[in-house]
Amino acid sequence: MKKHANGILAIIMCMLLVTVMVGCGNEKASDDTESVSNGNGENVELDTKAEETDTKAEEADTKAEEPEEVKLVFWHHYNEQSNENKVLMDVLIPEFEKENPSVKVEAVSHDWADLHNKALVAATANNLPDVIRVDSAWIPEFVDAGMLQSIDQEYTDFNEVKDGILEGPMDTAKVAGHYYGLGLNTNTKIMFYNTKLLKDSGVDLPKTLDEFFMAATELSSNDNGQQIWGYGEPALSGWNVLPLIWSNGGEILNSDNTMASGYLDSEQNIELLKQLVTLKEENAMTGFNSGDIPMTDGFAQGRYAMIIDGPWKYAELKGGHAEFTDYAATTMPAGKGGSIQVLGGEDISISINANSDYAWKFVKFMTSEFAQVEMGKVGQIPVSKKALENPEITAIEDFTVFLEAIKTSRARPAIADWSEVDQQINDAFTAALLGVKSPADALTEAAKMIDDILDKK
């Protein structure tokens, strides 16, 4: 009897295992009925992600089987505790569901970097959500990975919708002549300055890039070991240095985005980098090292006289340093190229795994005047032309300088390998500022590396 007990136990365990396998397998297999025209066959088995793609597949399954209630999955990166998420969950989604009774929107909040990675993984499993809020910098990469629908080709009323949205943000979703999303919200950077420090040191508000560099030096001081830096910059990536490069009249790539040599290492850029190195050596600039005081804290404590950042800075200052009020903001100082800031923002895109009709309806809804104004009231700068003229938006003081700056802002190069190129720029500027390489060497070597990266395609 004992011998048989062992055998029976073994067989039961086998059956259990097989059942579990088949169960998991079924959920994955049902994807084939959902996916739209994508020939991607590779199914990478990544342990940590397997569970999530399984649940998403389950939801995709329910969609196909129950046409009465359609589920729309929306991935975004509004912070779960943020006001934007509250508006989304309590105002926008209920309104959309009221207008479309057979749809249930399931919005999933992710961390910014997480969303990027999870979307890529979901793509390999053919398991993307219907709609994704995409950082504008990711569009070229996602398009290259074949993840997004080309909406100008899919929907007949596209042009009408497009005309209602600002051109700059719409351009962030444009790759090789086609649009892969609608602009959802936009942002750019402006210069925040400490009014008290400026007044006390008798420095005028800099309007040109040269004045800016001079002001940075004059605003720096060191009393009893308490260093004040005139200019704080939290990092040296494209998001941080491109405004300086562009405003100075320089470029980083040719117009085709196929070459960096001759552009990144131009005389203008080398001169600009030399000026930054001088600022660093004079202790007039810092912020990008691991040990530096974080921007918001440093600015509020009067340690950084001038910082350049986006609309979230207002919220951060009011939230964490409500007692600090000696600051104001203005547009980027203008150089030889003008006052050009870098255009950020998010687009809203439809994935190739989407349940098309409702996804497009949802996307249009999120860019409608109603949704844009509601989000605008919690700090998301609208891209809908009607929303921008809405009195509730024009009354928001914090937006005024940004709306001015957006007129002359420029999007980062729309290339799939932007992350790698960005890292090279970051490394070059860091090497020069830390004194490891001369500005000329740093930029020339980086340009060559970028040429290689762009050549690979």
Binding site: V44, S419, T430
Partner: protein, 314 residues
């Protein structure tokens, strides 16, 4: 006579072969049951561990961009050559190695010390064990953010050094050079792991037979000698176990590095996992990451085998 002896002979042989057959049947029945019992676990292991490793190995010979419609370009050993020549991988592997070299012995020695002390307490053992184990169960994210604040240029430690103890005028830039960053990360890693090795060693210490200590005392052995000649050899296997687990853990370090330095300055504080992550998910070079992870797997296996050889059963 002859016929009956032949008959007897035949009967014996038949009996023997019957017995042998029965024995064979028993053995194969057992074998089948053993295989069946192992099968679920083996299948699971094969599907979720061996298969991904195999796919990873294949991936390392391609320029595999995640999500690129499966169009992978075969590049042979190019990814492996990149790993050896691009400069950052060397930093990553060396940094992780140094981190392991500092944290593994530290955690073992300090964990053992705490375990011995706690074991010798008559009262209050549980309280101390909880206190020492708390860092182990605290989130790495919280610990990293907290320690970053402590070690920043104008962080708490520098405040104490410059303003309270007045050892030096200028704040120490803990997080801005490779060596000091490694030191800070090692301190964090050790602090967080002591509780784990302490728990493992307490369990091992309680299993050492008391008679050994008693007879040693009778022979006039002092406490220190008792520790070195009785305790240590008795828990040798536990030390080996801790060493292997802690080494593997050290090579898996990711969160504190990502949150505290993120490889800065200029990738000099990259660890294997942070560099691999950056290449896989930011640069989308899965092939390169696969090659790097495969090489590291070989390295860790080699280290583990060496540890077993040095400390294994004699």
């Amino acid at each position: 006579m002859l016929l009956s002896s032949i008959d007897h002979e035949l009967r014996c042989r038949m009996l023997n072969s019957n017995l042998i057959n029965k024995k064979k049947m028993n053995i194969s029945k057992d074998k089948i049951q053993i295989v069946l019992l192992f099968l679920p676990g083996l299948l699971f292991f094969a599907l979720f561990t061996l298969y991904p490793i195999y796919k990873l190995f294949i991936m390392s010979f391609f320029e595999y961009q995640i999500g690129s419609k499966g169009n992978a370009l075969f590049v042979g050993f190019e990814n492996y050559i990149s790993v050896f020549t691009d400069g950052v991988s060397q930093y990553a592997i060396t940094n992780t190695f140094i981190y392991g070299l500092i944290t593994v012995p530290s955690q073992i020695i300090l964990g053992l010390l705490v375990a011995v002390l706690i074991n010798s307490m008559s009262k209050g053992q549980v309280g101390f064990r909880i206190v020492y184990y708390l860092p182990v169960i605290t989130s790495w994210v919280i610990v990293s953010v907290l320690f970053k604040y402590i070690f920043q240029n104008e962080g708490y430690l520098n405040y104490v050094i410059v303003n309270i103890w007045e050892i030096t005028d200028l704040p120490v830039k803990w997080l801005e050079t490779r060596i000091s960053s490694l030191l800070v990360l090692s301190i964090i890693g050790t602090w967080k792991g002591i509780g784990w090795s302490m728990t493992v060693f307490i369990a091992a210490l309680t299993s050492v037979p008391k008679e050994l200590y008693d007879s040693a005392k009778v022979d006039g052995c002092n406490a220190l000698n008792r520790f070195f000649y009785i305790t240590l050899p008795s828990i040798k296997n536990t030390i080996l176990f801790s060493m292997v687990m802690l080494t593997i853990g050290a090579f898996n370090t990711f969160t504190p590095v990502k949150l505290i330095t993120n490889g800065k300055p200029l990738h000099q504080t990259e660890f294997i996992l942070t560099w691999m992550y950056k290449n896989a998910f930011e640069f989308r070079n899965m092939g390169y990451s696969a090659a790097l992870s495969f090489l590291v797997a070989i390295l860790v296996s080699a280290i583990t085998i060496t540890q077993f050889k040095l400390l294994g059963k004699k």
